[in-house]
């Protein structure tokens, strides 16, 4: 039994990628301007190694796919909030999945324990924002993979590791 979903499932989902913070900021309230959408094709190609929920709410046509974070940060920047707002608008017209699974992740630097907690905190931040926009928090499940799925080896690829994905 495979624990991993194949890439075609992910391709069905509307992806709302947001810009990457340009620097390793640890300043909480610093708002990074969006630097444009990422091409996420290569990320989807790697999804065979990503732990994803077995019963994710992928039946709808809209979903929050990924939100990115600064180094050691768990705050949502303006681009991330905009992406989440768009997803919520989509949910309002298309219907919310029965259950939304948020998975937080970090880049490979740091201790395994801290990174699991940091990934969780990122996912909790997304949940809190979804709830503030009126989504029923009881339908949102949160978990973290910490650095387990991290593939980065430099600043750009580390930035792609620091994310919350949702299905």
């Amino acid at each position: 039994m495979s624990r991993f979903r194949n890439a075609s499932f992910a391709a069905l989902l509307l992806t709302l990628a947001v810009g990457l913070p340009a620097c390793r900021s640890q300043t909480p309230e610093e708002e990074e301007s969006s630097s444009g959408s990422e091409n996420d094709g290569d990320r989807n190609a790697r999804r065979d190694v990503t732990l994803t929920p077995e019963n994710g709410g992928g039946s709808g046509t809209c979903s929050l796919q990924q939100v990115y974070f600064g180094y050691d940060a768990d705050e949502l920047d303006s681009a991330s909030r905009a992406a989440i707002q768009q997803a919520v608008e989509c949910f309002r017209t298309q219907g919310l999945p029965a259950r939304l699974h948020l998975t937080g992740a970090t880049d490979p630097r740091g201790t395994e324990e801290y990174n699991i907690a940091l990934g969780d905190r990122r996912a909790q931040a997304v949940r809190a924002y979804l709830v503030s926009l009126g989504i029923d928090g009881g339908r949102i499940a949160v978990t973290s993979v910490g650095e387990e799925m991290a593939q980065g080896s430099d600043e750009d690829s580390w930035a792609r590791d620091r994310r919350v994905s949702a299905e």
Binding site: T111, I116, A141
Partner: protein
Amino acid sequence: MTAHTPRATPWLPSLALLAAIAVALTAQPSRSQTDGDGPALPTSVPVIEIDAPEDHVYHIGIPNLLGEQNMMGEVLRGDFQLMPGYRVIDERSVRHDLVAEGLAIRSGAWGSLGAQGVIKGEVRATADGLEVELRFYRVARAAEPMFTRTYRGPATRARSWAHDFGNEVLRILTGMPGSFGTEIAYARRIGPGRKDVYRAQMDGYGEHRVSRGDGIALLPAFGNRRIYFTRMTTRGMFITHGRANDARIVEGDGINMAPTICDGRIYFTSSRDGNSEIYSTNLDGGDVQRLTNHPAMDLSPACGPNNKLAFVSSRHRTPQIFTMNRDGSDVRRVTFRGNHNQTPVWCQDPSRPRIAFTGRDGNYDIFTVNPETQDYVRLTQGQGDNKDPAFSPDCRLVAFASDRRGAPGIYLSSTLGFNQNLVARGDAETVRWRQWDGPYENMSVSDPVLDVLPTDAADAAVEVPTGVAPTGSAPVGAPTTTAPAGSAPVGAPSATAPARSAP
């Protein structure tokens, strides 16, 4: 036989001087003092080794035992080579007839080699296995052994007997037994999305997998005669143990990870209430109690002496080490240096307050701190990332995971960073060290530590403990008589036990 100056002694002072010069030349200011959390972590490792009996290196002769090729002698030599403050003299240096010497020692001959102590032994085949007599001599009083112990049982126990005797020699020399033969556990990254928990003896011998061999298993903990660990799955994160076949002992929404077990309860990190906090529960997962309640991250509980826990909290913005009582009261901040301190672990000896942790100073390195005096020691520097320290039960050694170039794996080090030895090679992380059971002052080596060592059913089935360790303080100078062996028929007696095969 002419008298010689001990060989190793003359160049030791010059070596220390060279080391001191090297450290002085490379000392540099902290690289990562970015957010004003206080002074930087120590920027250099110590220079002078003081963790040795009588404040100097103890030279101990350990030739092969009579009647065997080299297995037990090799185990004993390996043990003392891991131990800071000891230098092993093996038979390559010996220039007298060891067979003619027999189980006695010639003090003049050993003294000329610089030996202060000598371990001698003999292996004899019996009807149901082996009989091994081990003796420890002080060269200055060589007329009779300071300590003797005889072991009888299946040959598969021979390795444990060697560790046991080494532990007793340390007890005689220092008043505290060693931790030779105790167990460590750690996780190994197998591939993307694949990680398993392994256990091995502290010298790396006998490594084998504890988790099921699928998915992600990580962050192990010894306790309740089991190895608990964390499972990261598509259906959530939970805590289980090696005999539970993935039963979800601790589960809940969010993360549920990094167990530590003290006095019959599991302490763990969970975000079940929406934020990373410390909880405790019964060993079966019942009676969950929340210990912390703070909007910042709280994580990584670690058992300490005096009913304390250490943990990590970012309540002062950056992650720092804190302590609290096991009911969550009396929270105190411990680390005030550096800006990213994680993965605390205690020395379990109440008389030696010391917490080891991972600190970030550019890279990640191993540090210890005395929580009462704020005395910091740096153990690693300039060799990649070094993370997740663990104290040996006797607190003489610190294990940690390193990704240093060319030789990543689990290392053992002295508490000052000296004598770093690679014991588990490869992509290994989050090492934990099994502690002695029961109160620290009642530590007993042979029974609680060694009785879980058999790593397969065949070994466990014929286990016959014969070495009866004196609990508490051993009468120094009085040879110990061993209890008669239990009788358990085993296979063909053999003087050659399985060879050491470090993974």
